[in-house]
């Protein structure tokens, strides 16, 4: 009987992400993936029934990893200042240290499967972050804003800095490297903007 081999599964997930990031969704085939992961196509078919099934599962796992990393040591009962700081640190760590998953998740978001993946996994994410935001509004630590406006102000500066770092360049091609001082400066201003 065939048994589940976690190392092989890990290799399949990683190689699939690498192929999709470099060659696009259409660039992935089961045969190509098997070759890249150094396993037989039959092994891939033990775990996945076809290409679409594989892409969906890899996307769900990457998104879950991202969500778990974002919620690490975060409690929805935290104050706006503490909670947002934790969120920024967690998000920065994940997006800076997992460039492959980061690029892959971006591709998923902009693809036709994006919506399906996020509705599948984001429920806990939304409820924890929703509780945090509502608590902060009740304690009068946070202005009452439409969700999109809150999110844009709360996180866009962080993702812009991360993008500059990943590109290696900022505005006008100026060289840029991430450092925590930049993050702290931006976060201080964000908190000021969000507080009533």
């Amino acid at each position: 009987m065939r048994t589940r081999d976690e190392k092989k599964i890990e290799a399949i997930y990683k190689k699939a992400m690498q192929i999709i990031v470099s060659d696009g969704f259409d660039g992935l085939s089961m045969q190509k993936l098997a070759k890249a992961a150094g396993i037989s196509p039959a092994t891939i078919y033990i775990y996945f029934k076809d290409r679409d099934d594989l892409i969906l599962k890899v996307a769900v796992k990457a998104t879950e990893d991202m969500i778990n990393a974002t919620l690490k040591n975060f409690k929805p009962s935290m104050s706006l200042e503490k909670g947002l700081k934790k969120q920024w640190e967690n998000r920065a760590e994940f997006w800076l240290e997992n460039p492959l998953e980061a690029k892959f998740i971006e591709m998923i978001r902009h693809s036709h499967i994006g919506e399906g993946v996020f509705t599948k996994v984001k429920q806990e994410f939304s409820s924890v972050l929703g509780e945090f935001v509502h608590g902060a509004i009740e304690r009068k630590e946070l202005k009452k804003l439409p969700l999109e406006v809150y999110w844009a102000i709360a996180f866009s500066p962080l993702y812009t800095l991360i993008k500059f770092h990943n590109d290696g360049r900022s505005i006008g091609g100026k060289k840029f490297k991430w450092n925590d001082t930049y993050m702290k400066q931006a976060l201080t201003l964000v908190l000021k903007a969000l507080q009533p």
């Binding site: 009987m1 065939r2 085939s29 089961m30 045969q31 037989s40 196509p41 039959a42 092994t43 078919y45 033990i46 029934k49 076809d50 290409r51």
Partner: protein, 71 residues
């Protein structure tokens, strides 16, 4: 439950319909799917047993290629 993986030449809608009938009449086959996009037209069967011979014979007798895809 066992997962059995085969290489086939099932391609047309007609062949798929026939395969449907054949596998519906195979009691140990619980669930199956075929990846028509793949070069090997991989048939994946969730089976109560790990006996691949019966499925291979059934498909061969109906005139289709069916070989176990090695690990």
């Amino acid at each position: 439950m066992h997962t059995l993986i085969f290489k086939t030449n099932i391609q047309s809608e007609q062949a798929l319909k026939e395969l449907n009938k054949l596998l519906d009449n195979t009691p140990e086959c619980i669930h199956w799917s075929i990846d028509k996009e793949d070069i090997d037209k991989v048939l994946r069967v969730k089976s109560k047993t790990n006996n691949t011979t019966e499925i291979i014979n059934t498909l061969n007798q109906a005139g289709y290629i069916c070989e176990e895809l090695p690990d």
